[in-house]
């Protein structure tokens, strides 16, 4: 079972001091948070991707590439990578590069993004969100799975003879998750490919989470990837813990009351009852999240949002320590003790995927001996060769 943290990278004023970090400070704080999570022994760090203030995580693979070089064990991931507005060719290249640099210590999670203007800023239509996710991901898979791709679709200029480089590490592409809160089509997509499905239920009642995950599991089995209870499931989560429960409530309340998204809305009492947000002692967090297997079955990855709403870096690092030292060991023991032997504890690692691909004979060559026909030539050199000289202007 993997436990980790994810950041949405919001730059938010600390409501208790009125201080707002600048973008540089926030980016560096996120790096420190990820490195601390690695040192504390957490399993996963994931970053969101946003292209509008007050969020700073616009360039995930730059951040994760740096972290690959400055962390040891932690799996680097995304929450989420925008499969709608990014060019799938660039995703294929960026994340294959990250896979090589991190030596396979990474995976990624596809999401559509819910910020309206981001779509037109990147030349897309939000009403095509699901269709973009379907087509772009289908292309991304081909770019990783096939060396030379001829492709034509609706949302991107066609490709003829295109090879994405670097080729995936050991000839096996990264493991992919799909995240969606309310769209069953995305659960269907994850099930079709046998990919992981993460429900970020931090704003949602658990009965909705249960239905989405159940649907994904049922469809995963339908497509022949294994039994429904062997599908790879992740959950979002949110907590604030102190030794004494009342101290946690007192300290977190101003951050809750002013938080982006839910601030100035429901009371913390209502919100902690309706959603997985848990504020209290480490034991209360353990009890709440140990019960998640009753909602979604035995699952593989639990990510927590802990660095938002203007919480100071020092506090966030303390929360990481509490998570790693007091919450995760007990939670892991509890969840693993109930897990049947045929249900995997973790999402598949790179090594496991390589072994499986080699056994199945589907691992690709890592080197494509392509002939460079392009460098050092002018664009005009490349047209109309078969037609012979003098055929310019169609004469």
């Amino acid at each position: 079972m993997q436990f980790g943290i994810f950041t949405v990278s919001d730059v938010t004023t600390d409501p208790t001091t009125g201080r707002t970090p600048d973008d540089t400070e926030r980016v560096r704080a996120i790096l420190t948070i990820a490195q601390h999570a690695d040192q504390a022994g957490l399993d996963v760090f994931a970053t969101g991707e946003h292209h509008n203030p007050p969020f700073v995580a616009s360039s995930p693979t730059t951040m994760l590439g740096y972290l690959a070089g400055t962390t040891k064990n932690i799996t680097l991931s995304t929450a989420t990578t925008l499969i709608t507005t990014n060019d799938p060719v660039k995703i294929a290249e960026d994340y294959a590069m990250l896979q090589v640099i991190s030596n396979g210590r990474m995976d990624l999670m596809m999401g559509r993004g819910n910020t309206g203007p981001v779509y037109p800023w990147f030349g897309k239509d939000i009403r095509q969100g699901v269709n973009l996710a379907i087509e772009n991901y289908a292309l991304l898979r081909r770019l990783w799975d096939e060396e030379v791709v001829d492709w034509q679709g609706k949302f991107r200029t066609p490709l003829q003879g295109f090879t994405a480089t670097p080729r995936p590490l050991d000839g096996v592409p990264p493991f992919v998750w799909h995240g969606s809160i309310r769209t069953p089509e995305i659960a269907e997509q994850a099930a079709y490919y046998g990919d992981g499905f993460l429900h970020n239920n931090i704003f949602w009642p658990t009965d909705h989470t249960a239905r989405m995950v159940e649907y994904y599991r049922r469809r995963y089995e339908h497509y022949g990837h294994g039994r429904a209870d062997q599908a790879i499931v992740g959950l979002g989560g949110q907590f604030f813990a102190r030794k004494n429960s009342q101290d946690a409530w007192n300290e977190f309340r101003p951050y809750f009351d002013n938080a982006p998204v839910y601030g100035h809305g429901p009371s913390m009492e209502d919100f902690t009852r309706e959603t997985p947000l848990t504020v209290g002692s480490p034991q209360q967090v353990i009890d709440r999240y140990a019960a998640m297997r009753d909602v979604v079955g035995d699952y593989q990855r639990q990510l927590f949002l802990i660095d938002h709403a203007g919480l100071p870096l020092k506090t966030v690092l303390e929360q990481i320590d509490i998570l790693a030292e007091e919450i995760v060991p007990a939670l892991r023991a509890e969840l693993e003790s109930k897990r049947p032997a045929h249900v995997p504890s973790d999402p598949p690692s790179h090594a496991e995927r390589v072994a499986k691909a080699r056994a199945a004979g589907t691992a690709q060559d890592q080197h494509v001996a392509g002939e460079d026909r392009w460098t050092g030539r002018a664009a005009e050199d490349d047209v109309a060769e078969p037609a012979g000289r003098g055929a310019a202007f169609g004469l």
Binding site: V130, N131, I134, E135, A138, G153, K154, P184, E185, A187, E188, Q189, A191, Y192, F203, W204, P205, H208, R211, Y215, Y223, V261, Y262, H264, G265, P266, D270, F271, E274
Partner: protein, 206 residues
């Protein structure tokens, strides 16, 4: 006798409320008209006043909680809906509009719906047509042509001798009942999963 569910939404703020009074009369007229057609009505009534905080929370957080969630599920799964609001400042009350705003955009598609409204004087009566009916047209509800507006004087029977309030209520109830009876029985709110296309269909529609 078959049974059909009629969800009633009343946005009256007072207690007692003239809007709730109209809502109850419309529900009774519909129940009577359904009974004449061999159908038993199960009426479930929600006063938005009691859901006001949860409606605001839903607008801020993006998800409905508690009783509001139950109310939205009932409305989405109902065979017919009666929606009644006071007219404030030439339009539906803000609370009523906020409730409509948190209804899923497909939840009322094809659902027979009856509009009711209350106001101080008959001069506001066309608000049902220019302000409220468009909301339900946008949501593709099957709204009956008669909308019932009750001005204060209507309750004394002095406002309209030719077409008094009870007659308008009766007519509206009949119109809603006829639409409800004409539709196949609902099997509760669709949860969106049964209707999810399989992956081949998702690819094909590109």
């Amino acid at each position: 006798m078959t049974t059909r569910t009629i969800a009633v939404v009343s946005a009256g703020l007072g207690r007692p409320s003239a809007t709730r009074l109209l809502a109850d009369r419309l529900a009774q007229a519909t129940t009577d008209a359904l009974a004449e057609r061999g159908v038993t009505a199960e009426v479930v009534t929600y006063e938005l006043r009691t859901l006001a905080h949860e409606i605001t929370d839903a607008m801020l957080t993006g998800f409905p909680s508690g009783e509001l969630r139950t109310a939205l599920e009932t409305v989405a799964g109902a065979d017919g809906v009666i929606a009644v609001t006071p007219i404030f400042t030439t339009s539906a009350s803000g609370l009523f509009k906020s409730f409509v705003d948190v209804i899923d955009k497909d939840a009322l598609r094809g659902t027979p719906l009856l509009i009711g409204a209350t106001g101080g004087t008959p001069r506001h009566s066309l608000a049902t047509e220019y302000a409220i009916r468009p909301l339900f047209t946008y949501l593709h509800a099957d709204t009956v042509t008669t909308a019932v507006f009750a001005a204060t004087d209507d309750w004394a029977g002095e406002a309209d001798d030719v077409n008094p309030l009870p007659e308008r209520i009766r007519r509206a109830g009949v119109e809603l009942a006829e639409k409800v009876v004409a539709r196949p029985e609902r099997s509760g709110a669709a949860d969106g999963f049964d209707a999810t296309p399989d992956f081949a269909s998702l690819l094909n529609r590109l």
